[in-house]
């Protein structure tokens, strides 16, 4: 807010409306602000804006493997048409939705459960909190390889355990089976990221006013009623942000599916991001890969909009108060 407007707000006696400063004047007044953000802006332009622009540009060109990118040929929206009319795209989209929705849902629910359990003080709470954070801090690459061996269809520890306790006979095929592989990978993903939801929600739980919970208790509310009517509504903001972040993260989750199955068997664990990688980097089909990436970018922008809205909810009100 400029100083001119600030004076107008606090003036006791209404007088003639101050003359609106021109854009140039306002920019001149804020020249040092621009100077301060210039380095960050420059870096963003180079590492974010230009690649985004270049990806959008590439998405309108045909880029055969035998031609350098300098010789690419303009094909309008052909690449978008290729992507959107492909049956594989819609299969992969459905898999991406399953992957994202289930990963987000279970990560959030597990994280919420863990956060609630760890919110109360008990002996060993700090240790348990540290232990539950391990999946989140472990490298996704390392975790993928470990889980690949745990799931291994011939020598996997999980299959051996199930066998030993009599639940199954012989090795269990989790990831070499096109009907179970995606769900097996979702389990790994949930294991990897529920800690993130737990941390976010633990922070949120700190902000629930103790007085409200006590008042509800005095009014005779049960533990469930206190959770449902007091705690959960208070967590709405942080839950929205957490869910949005999880959705974004899962939509872009590359490492686990790529390392564990490479998108197989028969494409059953292929999701958007791995498919884009395959098209662009393994098949050198840059144009189609770029068009696909632009579609992903648009979805990310929509999610980003909601994320920013969730983060800034109430800012206007607070500013006006």
């Amino acid at each position: 807010m400029s100083s001119v407007q600030g004076q107008a707000i606090f003036r006791d006696v209404p007088g003639p409306a101050p003359k609106q400063a021109s854009l140039g004047q306002r920019m001149y007044t804020s020249r040092f602000d621009y100077l301060y953000i210039a380095p960050a802006l420059l870096v963003m332009l180079i590492v974010i804006a230009y690649p985004v622009y270049y990806t959008i540009e590439l998405s309108f060109y045909k880029t055969p493997a035998s031609l350098s990118l300098a010789d690419k040929t303009f094909t309008g929206i052909d690449n978008y048409r290729t992507v959107l009319t492909s049956a594989i795209f819609w299969k992969v989209t459905w898999q991406t939705i399953i992957w994202t929705v289930l990963s987000t849902l279970f990560s959030f629910l597990l994280g919420l459960g863990a956060a609630l359990a760890l919110h109360r003080a008990f002996i060993g709470r700090a240790l348990l909190r540290g232990l539950l954070l391990i999946p989140w801090v472990v490298s996704a690459v390392a975790a993928s390889y470990v889980w690949k061996w745990l799931y291994h269809s011939d020598f996997g520890a999980i299959g051996a355990l199930l066998n030993q306790i009599g639940l199954t006979k012989g090795p269990v095929n989790f990831i070499d089976n096109s009907t179970t592989s995606l769900y097996a990978l979702i389990v790994v993903n949930v294991w990897k990221e529920f800690s993130f939801a737990m941390i976010m929600l633990m922070a949120g739980l700190q902000t629930v006013p103790e007085s409200l919970l006590r008042a509800a208790q005095v009014d005779g509310a049960s533990a469930w009623q206190r959770f449902w009517h007091v705690t959960l509504p208070q967590l709405q903001g942080v839950s929205t942000v957490t869910i949005l972040l999880l959705v974004v993260q899962n939509f872009n989750s590359f490492i686990i599916p790529f390392i564990m199955t490479g998108g197989g068997p028969v494409g059953s664990t292929q999701i958007w991001i791995t498919h884009i990688y395959e098209l662009a980097f393994l098949r050198q089909n840059w144009g189609v890969g770029a068009a696909y990436a632009v579609l992903l970018f648009l979805i990310m922008m929509v999610l980003g909009y909601f994320y920013v809205r969730a983060l800034t909810r109430g800012d206007d009100k607070r500013a006006g108060a």
């Binding site: 055969p64 035998s66 992507v83 011939d154 068997p265 050198q284 089909n285």
Partner: protein
């Protein structure tokens, strides 16, 4: 572009001694244009494990002196070079040989400054692509055998002549030169070449009632042996590899496909045109049917084949849970390494497996055809306009390539897992030392004449790493019949080579 002559002229007016020196250098260079500095002494028609052993250590070479005839040893310049050198996981000998090379190069050419980057196999192509787009590539790059075709097709690489570097075409394997020829132009020189072979666990064979000292002769035998091992011992017989999006998969499956008379294109023929699609011919279908028989009918191969690369087969093999598989020349060293890391009862098992490990030639197809993927690396020169600084120091580049591809260094730099790209390397004492210390090297080496390079097309990675594994997975999972899977693959390959890309 700079060269020694340019620099000399700039340093002052030529004296009589300078002129005489240049005349001698010119005469030497001229003589090299028509002949190699290395006389051809290897008879490829006699190639066998015995012949390889008999010629090793019969001739000595002096790389510094020989290359001095190509580029004077006092030449002052600079060269930038990217390659995949030894990394942490590689054995010490690979590090030692790499260091020894650079010491030798700097001793031979003390005035050539080197800017060298060792980049991992997985990162090298992407980094090179990025650098080319930003005109900041190195002058010289060594890429895996078909890595260069994409860049040659796109016009990033300089055509080369072996004679410019002190060699002749006869110094290299014909298959290796084929793999580095695009549109009838040679755009690199082979630095090292290798072919895989077949390994098996003799004890597993004996326990299953098979001859422990004989590899399966044909691929049909592999199918039968695999079933016998599985049925009698309850373990996997053959280490099938069929992971999607994995370069490992075609390296293991194409030898089988070629042996049956199949191909992706006509790469298995003497003079391939890469225009006719062969993936749906009878041979290809027979090979896919054999894989299907092992995976889906006999269930004699690992269930995990669909997500396995060769690395995942090593642990079961060393644990005695896998009977046989296609193996890289370095597999024996890897098994020794795994055995050395085993503890307790596992250690005894692993040691027994190493003792029972046998190497043999790849099985043949029904018509006696034996085939294997021709592997290795090539060294390339980048066009000046794409190089950092916009210049290629031609003389320094020649010096580096001449030294790297000399019989001695071509052998020593491929110590662990490959063979010299320069055939004369097989005559060196280093080769003899390798044969004496690396078990089964004579067997894997003797597969070289059966090597077939993947199609030399920029679209080859998409065909080999995407279409072939997809075809395998479609058939093995029952998603498609063998006929449908091969027809589907044929359509994809036709679209790809037709310039339409492989769809999505």
């Amino acid at each position: 572009m700079t060269n020694s002559e340019d620099r000399a002229q700039r340093s002052g007016s030529p004296t009589r001694r300078h002129i005489a020196k240049f005349a001698l250098a010119a005469m030497a260079t001229t003589s090299l244009i028509s002949t190699s500095v290395y006389a051809q002494a290897v008879d490829l028609s006699k190639w066998s494990p015995e012949y390889v052993k008999s010629i090793a250590g019969t001739k000595d070479f002096d790389a510094a002196k020989d290359c001095g005839a190509v580029v004077p040893n006092d030449y002052a310049g600079n060269v930038s070079y990217w390659y995949t050198g030894p990394f942490e996981a590689d054995p010490q000998i690979a590090h030692d040989q790499d260091k020894a090379f650079w010491d030798a190069f700097h001793a031979a050419y003390p005035n050539i400054k080197t800017d060298v980057q060792s980049i991992t196999y997985n990162e090298l192509l992407d980094k090179f692509r990025t650098a080319l787009l930003g005109n900041s590539a190195p002058m010289v790059i060594r890429l895996q055998i078909l890595g260069g075709v994409e860049f040659a097709a796109k016009g990033y690489l300089n055509p080369v002549k072996p004679e410019d570097y002190g060699f002749t075409a006869a110094d290299f394997w014909p298959g290796a030169l084929k793999s580095v020829t695009y549109d009838n132009t040679l755009y690199g020189l082979p630095t090292n070449n290798e072919t895989m072979a077949f390994i098996w666990n003799a004890k597993v064979f004996a326990d299953a009632g098979l001859d422990p000292e004989a590899a399966p002769k044909t691929w049909d035998d592999v199918v039968a042996y695999s079933k016998q091992i599985h049925d009698k011992l309850g373990i996997s017989g053959y280490g099938l590899v069929a992971k999607q999006n994995a370069g490992n998969t075609p390296f293991r499956f194409m030898p089988q496909l070629w042996a049956y008379g199949g191909g992706s294109l006509d790469e298995a023929t003497a003079n391939p045109t890469y225009k006719s699609v062969e993936i749906n011919n009878a041979g290809s279908k027979a090979a896919l049917q054999a894989a299907y028989q092992m995976y889906a009918v006999d269930k004699s191969v690992p269930v995990s084949a669909l997500t396995n690369t060769q690395a995942e087969n090593q642990a079961p093999f060393i644990a005695g849970q896998l009977g046989m598989m296609i193996a890289h020349p370095a597999e024996y060293a890897k098994m020794l390494d795994l055995a050395s890391k085993a503890t307790g009862a596992d250690k005894a098992t692993a040691d027994a497996v190493v003792a029972n490990m046998r190497y043999g030639l790849m099985p043949t197809g029904p018509d006696g055809k034996r085939a294997v993927v021709f592997g290795g690396s090539n060294i390339h020169v980048v066009k000046p306009e794409f190089v950092d600084g916009g210049k290629v120091d031609e003389q320094a580049v020649k010096a580096l390539i001449c030294m790297w591809d000399s019989p001695e260094w071509s052998t020593r730099l491929a110590w662990v897992g490959s063979n010299p790209g320069n055939i004369n390397g097989f005559l060196t004492s280093s080769m003899k030392q390798r044969l004496d210390t690396i078990k089964f090297l004579d067997v894997t080496t003797s597969m070289l004449p059966n090597g077939i390079p993947f199609p030399v097309l920029p679209e080859s990675p998409e065909i080999m790493n995407i279409v072939i594994p997809d075809m395998l997975q479609n058939a093995l999972t029952g998603n498609m019949t063998v006929d449908q899977a091969t027809e589907d693959a044929a359509k994809k390959i036709e679209t790809i080579i037709g310039g339409g890309g492989g769809g999505i």
